[in-house]
């Protein structure tokens, strides 16, 4: 199986490393000149190109790791060429874009695998498994929190709402998807957002209350307003028969403390814990199996779209100051 990775930034690099643990071969990196594609190509023995079309012929799978606003364009082109698609989260910048992507892949008869990597983080996966096994009864109140610093890339597309959707779509989408995975469809969203450390218009801290169809409620917090280099995540699921909680500061298995604390020069932080297989590698191994053996991964393209829909509802709610009602049953044909 041959993979062409589009996008040579942080996620392109992370996906390349993860693919290298599978039986797939990375044949090409597609990116703007001078964005590190050469180095990646050298590392993985692949070609580098500036246009997807130039490398599409030899690929079976296109892995879209571009900024979010380009997900739809590259997915549609890959699908039109009959290639399977792996797409970084969030699936799309907008719900109509996501719908078009799903329809195009269906029409072309190719898979659309959305990289909601949180579903492959062992603590999140285990918590959801315990819930599914009924160990804490019906989920009732969820608290999900994801707090880090403002991305600081040279071409900082993350903080540009036109390219990333902003913090709510880029970061909180992880926990929106997770809340829905644990407690089911969301019917109402109310959110408030603040701009604290960045420029006007750039939400960097938001709080959202989700109401699930089941009657469960979720508190979701996302932040790019925490001091660097922290990346704190918290999970709490209170059910009718028990409680599960985990937080990254309390489960940090290795902690380095220096006499002179220094901020790292990381551009964007990723959460992580020392593991034999990283969640990114687990994710792409599962996707590889899905593509080679036809198995179903734990996240569908429709799940990816539903997460975008919740994030968009949160953005709209924060802007209008009113709750947004969702009819998630009516979103897809």
């Amino acid at each position: 199986m041959h993979v062409a990775i589009v996008g040579t930034g942080l996620m392109g690099r992370v996906h390349a490393e993860a693919w290298s643990h599978t039986g797939a071969r990375i044949t090409a990196f597609v990116g703007k000149p001078g964005t590190g594609g050469d180095i990646l190509a050298g590392t993985y023995g692949a070609r580098v190109a500036t246009e997807l079309d130039a490398v599409l012929g030899e690929a079976d799978v296109v892995d879209v790791c571009t900024p979010t606003h380009l997900h739809a364009e590259f997915t549609l082109r890959a699908a039109a060429a009959g290639k399977h698609v792996v797409c970084e989260k969030p699936l799309a910048l907008t719900v109509p874009d996501g719908l078009r992507m799903i329809q195009a892949c269906r029409t072309a008869g190719v898979r659309l695998l959305v990289a909601h990597v949180l579903r492959f983080f062992p603590e999140y996966r285990l918590a959801r498994e315990l819930v599914a096994r009924g160990e804490i009864g019906v989920p009732a109140v969820l608290r999900l929190s994801r707090c880090t610093f403002r991305p600081r890339k040279a071409d900082n597309w993350y903080v540009d709402p036109a390219r990333s959707g902003g913090m709510i779509l880029d970061l909180m989408v992880h926990d929106f998807d997770y809340a829905r995975w644990v407690a089911g469809d969301v019917v109402r969203v109310f959110a408030r957002a603040a701009q604290i450390t960045g420029q006007a218009d750039e939400t960097d801290h938001a709080l959202a209350i989700l109401t699930h169809r089941s009657g469960a409620i979720s508190h979701v917090e996302g932040s790019w307003a925490y001091p660097a280099p922290s990346f704190h995540t918290r999970l709490e699921i209170a059910g009718a028969a028990g409680l599960i909680e985990v937080s990254s500061p309390e489960t940090a298995a290795v902690e380095l403390r220096l006499h002179k604390e220094q901020d790292s020069n990381q551009e964007v932080a990723l959460p992580g814990s020392p593991l034999q297989e990283s969640p990114y590698a687990t994710q792409l191994r599962v996707f590889y199996e899905a593509l080679t053996r036809g198995t179903e991964p734990p996240v569908s393209a429709e799940d990816g779209l539903a997460a975008v829909q919740i994030a968009r509802a949160a953005i709209d709610s924060a802007r209008a100051g009113l709750p947004v009602e969702l009819d998630s049953s009516g979103i897809l044909p």
Binding site: A140, V141, L207, H219, E221, A240, A241, L243, P323, E325
Partner: protein, 337 residues
């Protein structure tokens, strides 16, 4: 010597207040009275407190002040009896279950010239006081929002009336929202402008199903700061303690985390799996009772007043309306407050 009485042992804190009063050099616990004679007798024996059969008998003992620990819906009646006897009142939170009752209590106390204090012990919690001091130093910069929790075990294990809507006025929302509303008003020096709330009955122990057991509330203050409160009874019976209270303030220069009950030992017994947290921080209730006593002694307004209790109740009432309608509720305040 300030002579104090306790009206009712319905609320759990009454037991703690007995010890708090006894620890004060300038106060004397004259006794208590309880509408529930069996409960009154029980605490009379276990706490060594003299208990009178009726509130009026207790109030005939030339008291200076009373602490009202009746069921929420019975606060008004108890306070009115106390006011008729001309004694100062420290009332357990929430002040009442309806704004009409709360209004009547404020008016009755005002007319009689007695002080009405509401039991918001967090104003006297050392970590909370320290956090307010840090915020006042402006080191965090302008505050944008706050994430607050006051989650706990279902209190029905201690007193069944907490899940009886007629007596409690509701469930988790009325039980666990007031402390944080008061603390946030105190920290931010701003009033609540809007309330959004969603509740759930999926957590166990909501009585016959008529009270909510979980709730998430999003407040927006007049100064633009917004804050969430998790008031859920989401701590299972096996949780190492009753619950907790925390706040995280997000400011322009960083983040301030406050946990009022993190000063604790973790104890693992050999003969059971019941890990427990044993609190070793300062007793906030002690500071609160001391303030009530010194306000009486010095004939001054206490640091927490009936109006503070009324403001917290306004938010609770709006939260129920928001949960019912699915809409945010704007608070419109009457001139009389």
């Amino acid at each position: 010597m300030i002579r104090l009485g306790i009206m009712s042992f319905a609320h759990l804190h009454a037991e703690a207040y007995v010890e708090n009063i006894r620890a004060l050099p300038n106060a004397e616990l004259v006794g208590a009275a309880d509408e529930d004679t069996a409960r009154g007798d029980h605490f009379a024996r276990s706490l060594g407190v003299r208990v009178w059969p009726a509130y009026e008998d207790l109030l005939a003992q030339r008291l200076d002040g009373v602490i009202v620990c009746a069921e929420n819906a019975r606060h008004r009646a108890a306070v009115e009896i106390a006011v008729r006897a001309g004694v100062h009142v420290l009332c357990e939170k929430p002040l009442a279950t309806t704004l009409a009752d709360a209004q009547a209590m404020l008016q009755a106390c005002g007319k009689a010239g007695v002080q009405l204090m509401v039991a918001f012990p967090m104003r006297f919690s050392a970590p909370i006081v320290e956090a307010r001091r840090v915020l006042d130093e402006s080191r965090l910069g302008e505050i944008s929002c706050c994430v607050a929790t006051n989650q706990g075990q279902n209190p029905r294990h201690h007193r069944a009336w907490f899940v009886d809507k007629r007596l409690a006025g509701g469930g988790a929302v009325i039980d666990h929202t007031a402390h944080l509303v008061d603390a946030l008003r105190w920290f931010l020096r701003s009033e609540v402008a809007e309330v959004y709330a969603q509740t759930t009955g999926l957590l166990p122990g909501g009585g016959s199903g008529d009270v909510e057991t979980g709730g998430l509330i999003l407040l927006t203050f007049v100064n633009g700061v917004f804050a969430t409160i998790d008031c859920s009874w989401s701590r299972p019976a096996s949780y190492p303690t009753w619950g907790g209270l925390s706040m995280a303030f997000i400011g322009r220069r960083g983040v301030l985390d406050v946990d009022a009950f993190r000063q604790r030992l973790t104890v693992y017994p050999e003969d059971s799996s019941d890990t427990r947290w044993q609190y070793w921080g300062s007793d906030a209730n002690q500071g609160m009772i001391a303030e009530f006593v010194s306000a009486i002694e010095q004939s001054r307004t206490p640091a927490v007043t009936g109006v503070d209790g009324y403001r917290a109740l306004e938010v609770i009432v709006a939260a129920y309306e928001s949960a019912r309608t699915g809409r945010p509720i704007r608070l419109t305040r009457g001139e009389d407050q």
